[in-house]
Amino acid sequence: MTAPAPSAPVLSARGVGRSFGAVRALDDVTLDLRAGEVTALVGDNGAGKSTLVKILSGVVVPDAGRIVLGGEPVRIVRPHDARALGVATVHQDLGLCENLDVVANLFLGAEPHRWSLLRSLRMERAARDLLASLDVRIPDLRTPVASLSGGQRQSVAIARALLGEPRVVLLDEPTAALGVEQTAQVLALIRRLRDRGLAVLVISHNLADVRAVSDRIAVLRLGRDAGVFRTAETATETVVAAMTGAGAAA
């Protein structure tokens, strides 16, 4: 395996925090995402994983700390800001239109057109090239997404995130609700994103998946940093201990 060289982070959250009413959902959390590296974000329910991803994707605005992209502090206050800065997010619900085919979903809201006429051939060509480059194989790109498997849908959603040529991809629970075989497909796709030099953040509940795909594991507990571990050098028990707070620093 290629050991990730310690490079400067592409996207960093520095000391970010956010309260919802009286609840401090996230407090003084720092997270670095590096190019060509998969970072897993783990934590128990309510640990603040979703809040952190929402901050990075512009859905939630932090009330403390700052976000640094490529060494420059940036303001991300709307989802549009994140996309414009090259931070793409694949939400857990995927945001696909089940009635539309794969090509239409890939270009949803960004259809190439001339005088309001869709450029169907251009879209289909680009879709084929993109999916082939990711080694995602879907027998018929003209079938509605509704008839695809869960793994294929996840792959389509991830491929769509790549169309904007992002530098960072945030994946929210990409393997939840997938079978064993389909999970393997999606994990293989995540590795391909890393090999393309993207900075990838994967939120997951499943430590086996996290072990299989990540280079680093960032743990959140009760809205606070609970450590960052190199996956290859860390035992699962250590990560679990950090997540649950059992025998701190065991």
Binding site: G95, L96, C97, N99, D101, G109, L117, P139, S155, A188
Partner: protein, 394 residues
Amino acid sequence: MNPSLDLPGLGDRRLRLPRPSGGDPGALPVVAGLTLIAVVFGSLNGHFLSSENLTNLALQMAATGTIALGIVLVLLLGEIDLSAGSVSGLTAVVMTVLNVREHVPSGLAVLLALGAAALVGLTHGLMFTVLRMPSFVVTLAGLIGWQGLMLYLLGRDGTINLPFDGPVSTLSDTWLPTWLSWAFVIGAGTVYLVTALLVRRARARTGLPVSGPVPLALRTFGLVAVLAAAVAVMSGDRGVPLTLVIFGGLVVLLDLVLRLTLPGRWVYAVGGNAEAARRAGIAVARVRLLVFVASSVLAGAGGILAASRLSAVNQSSGGSDILLNAIAAAVIGGTSLFGGRGRAYAALLGILVIQSVANGMLLLNVDSSVRFMVTAGVLALAVAIDSAARGGRR
């Protein structure tokens, strides 16, 4: 391990009804139903399949079919327009009042009336998108309110006649000469074939897979055969009615807009998953406004066609079962009530089914009570097919 992601049907096989290449339950059940209707009524009454009767059928279709086109659009969004009947009546009355009482030239009166219909649709759309009222309630209010306005405009007489030899009435009594009908069939077949060949060549140049020449030849042949049969039948009587050509033209135009343009794609996207469409940057509210305006304008156009056929407007314009038939036609034709699935051709096929059943039963002297029950059965069957197709994918 093989890194490929190609694992078709992997432990995840879903029940799927056989579907034509379009990807929806599509036209197959309707075409089968139409064949059945033709066989049953044709054998029960020799007059059903006669040129004269089928030409009458074609004449009867245009008005309600045009209204059904608007319903198809609204259903594609997963919404409903209950006001289409009232709006059709109102538009016809506005047109007639302008034309007959105010002596506005016919063409201008039609345009102004359609403009009024657009305003009505815009009102519905704003109530739906800005006030966030359910479309059911907005258009239910429209159903009652616009009928009220229509009765008010009609005044005490309750009926306004259009001059029999005026342009509006003549519209429904204009028939294509036989040579023009045949030229039209040949033209349509040629345009279809040439376009398909051009698309095929463009696909091949772009390196995309192309379908074989046999399906294309079959489709072209099928299109020409259906058009030729229709022309042959109607030329045996008075000829092809102009109103049918107008309706057919609207169907084709709307189908092209829905399939090939940006707004058309957005209508399907909003109907399929409005939240996903919004997140993808589509102006969902604007799409909805556009659809409600289009629905009312098409309803208005249908109302004008109905007034043209009757040469008059009266208190029952746009009333009775017109709205219900239009909605039933859209659904029977294969438009999903759940939004996002269906094509403009649903209006044509659905209205064919409804008018055939109504017409056949009239010929058999069946009481209207039975006619209603049979129509209900057809509608229930169509929705059952839609639900089964949708359920099979979830």
